[in-house]
Amino acid sequence: MKKDTSKINPLENEAIYIIREVAAQFEKPVLLFSGGKDSITLVRLAQKAFYPAKIPFPLMHIDTGHNFPETIEFRDQLVKKLGLELIVRKVQDSINEGKVKEESGRYASRNSLQTTTLLDAIEEFKFDACIGGARRDEEKARAKERIFSVRDDFGQWDEKNQRPELFDMLNGQIQLGQNVRVFPISNWTELDVWSYIERENIEIPSIYFAHTRATFLRDGLIWSSDDDVVYRDENEVVEERLVRFRTVGDMSCTAAVLSEAADIASVVQEIRDSTISERGARIDDKRSEAAMEKRKQQGYF
């Protein structure tokens, strides 16, 4: 049976429109690329927006050093295949320069550290617009986000004083030093993204599909066992499990889910039937009810 994908058409039209507005309204845009499904979807939408010309801006990856190796491998292949420019800035460098301090202990993660690296890179390249794959359905602070979200000199989000966005009109006028975070897939849900990946036959990293992995349990979540990156107590036993990742962040803050979904059709079905939210597997959101809002105020993506 042919699946009904008509719902994605208006979302795709909107996203392409937004990406074109970025290219037209800004001098130095960049697409923030994490190697996750949302930013991979953005790359496809950008290809569509400018065909037959190349994407007129580079990609930038803020590398925490805690990525899944499969993601990095995928990133490099994609960039090569599409002939895109890729900028990589490393959290490790920010640590070495003494700008940020590595967290320690059980829940240590570099997730919040990457904000400093990102803000430094924006300043280094004088980027005036950063395109990101955040969606409003992911998290309730993100539900309040504009499509063109203005950040001040310090990269901060002033959530109580956002510009109204009317009809299709996007106001990208900013002062020197400010930049805009742009979210073309704001109105997509997780299921929309997956359905789009299926419809468009978009390649994604292998860790999104079911595979056997050395893992251990903590707080009811399944963690990848990698003693260099992920803290593990001695009594936390490593076992092989059939898992996949529903969201891909750092190894230290992204938990796996038990799954047998080995192809895109099964993944779409699994998401459709799911009763748990995507970010339920993200420990970075579980620090407090306002974890995301706090990080966003500080310039997090």
Partner: protein
């Protein structure tokens, strides 16, 4: 599958967030982790019911004060439709937020507290949704549980509301009344046994059967050029494509078009969606168009059918909604963004203020303050290509940008 965007309007404590939470809960759209969080927080706060507003009030300040500060977007789907609900705040800056929410919605819910009935704010909520020409309005008379599900109360509110309806400008707007209790779930998703006298649909049933396709009158095609694509590669050496979104109608290969403002004529040669060639570009699709002739077209220009031109003028009168804390006064200059086109605009005259509670107009106005609605004439440094808002929602609207702060300070609907 269709997408329906719904804006909500209600005063503080009318229960908007609770209603949205109820819809999510009853359609099983709340995932178990989100539901657990709501249960936990409700218990911590000592409530004896689940506080669904916790699902939508995303900011710390909102949860602390128990109010909605900024528009939140909530997503859920059923077998027939995908829904986007814009949860707009009911208190300060409500006009600004409601205008914003309504501008992208096909339907609106206006909440009325059954104990309070039609109040001044209700007039405003209705006025704005009518001004923005939102096609479908649902008047949800909420907190019916607190008036013993009284049919008399419901009928009284309905009659009061009908008085308002006679005053509206956009008469074709469809209006539906539904008695609900968001907190208890009556007539939201499931039919209530407490209102045997009510034979209409529940809120969700009503949305489910709405035909959202072509909900706005199909006008005439307008193609504002967003971006000129020039690949300059060997394969596409002379390619010159005009990227943009089609509004108001369709464009097909072979159509005779006029480029504005140059008024140069040409024909549509190709229509691309990515690497696929199409015969026709449908309404609201993002496409790339090439023309038979090599004419000069750049961002902000517009392609239209030769037989159907918009008004091209450097002066017009519009109803505007002012959204900034700094007043608008005659003589002020702003950047006027009309679609993707930007020009400079000078406020030529403020004709009158329109009271959004239907209490009439006020003349001899010197300045407009935040949340004011008024009739204003603008003079531009360059002509724009527009249609009246009542004929063309997209090509009849604009925003005003303060050139110092760069903020969006107002929205306008061309008369």
């Amino acid at each position: 599958m269709e997408v329906l965007k719904i804006a909500t309007a209600g005063s503080v404590d009318d229960g908007k967030s609770t209603l949205i939470g109820r819809i999510l809960y009853d359609t099983k759209s709340l995932t178990s982790d989100k539901l657990d969080a709501i249960k936990k927080t409700s218990k911590q706060k000592g409530y004896d019911y689940l506080d669904f507003s916790l699902a939508t009030d995303g900011l710390v300040a909102e949860r602390e004060q128990g109010i909605t500060i900024d528009v939140a977007h909530i997503y859920f789907s059923t077998q027939t439709k995908s829904y986007i609900i814009a949860d707009t705040p009911g208190h300060v800056e409500y006009t600004r937020n409601m205008v914003t929410g309504a501008s992208t919605s096909q339907a609106a819910i206006i909440l009325i507290d059954a104990r309070k009935g039609v109040i001044e704010q209700t007039n405003r909520h209705f006025f704005i949704n009518n001004l923005l020409r939102v096609k479908e309005v649902i008047v949800a008379i909420n907190k019916m549980d607190l008036v013993d599900f009284s049919e008399a109360v419901y009928n009284k509110i309905k009659e009061d509301f009908k008085v308002l309806m006679e005053k509206r400008d956009y008469q074709e707007q469809n209006i539906t009344f539904i008695p609900v209790s968001a907190l208890k779930g009556d007539n939201v998703v499931h039919k209530s046994t407490n209102t045997p006298w009510y034979h209409g649909q529940t809120l969700l049933e009503h949305f489910e059967q709405l035909d959202t396709k072509d909900i706005y009158n199909v006008g005439t095609p307008r193609f504002p050029v967003q971006y000129v694509i020039r690949p300059k590669t060997e394969e596409f050496h002379d390619f010159r494509g005009y990227a943009g979104k089609v509004y108001g109608g369709e464009l097909s290969i072979g159509d005779e078009v006029v480029a504005l403002p140059s008024k140069t004529k040409s024909k549509i040669k190709e229509i691309f969606v990515y690497d696929q060639l199409y015969q026709t570009a449908s309404r609201r699709s993002s496409v790339t168009i090439t023309l038979e002739d090599d004419i000069n077209v750049s961002r902000g220009d517009m392609l239209v059918k030769a037989a159907d031109l918009p008004t091209v003028d450097k002066q017009f009168t519009a109803t505007i909604s002012w959204m900034d804390s700094q007043n608008l006064v005659a003589g002020n200059k702003y950047v006027l963004q009309h679609g993707v086109n930007k020009v400079l605009a000078k406020v030529d005259a403020i004709h009158h203020k329109i009271h959004p509670d239907y209490s009439g107009i006020e003349e001899n106005i010197q300045a407009l303050a935040m949340n004011d609605i008024a009739s204003v004439t603008f003079k531009l440094n360059k002509p724009i290509f527009f249609d009246p808002f009542k004929n063309h929602r997209t090509n009849g609207s604009f925003i005003l940008i303060d050139s110092q702060s760069n903020n969006t300070v107002g929205a306008g609907f061309i008369q």
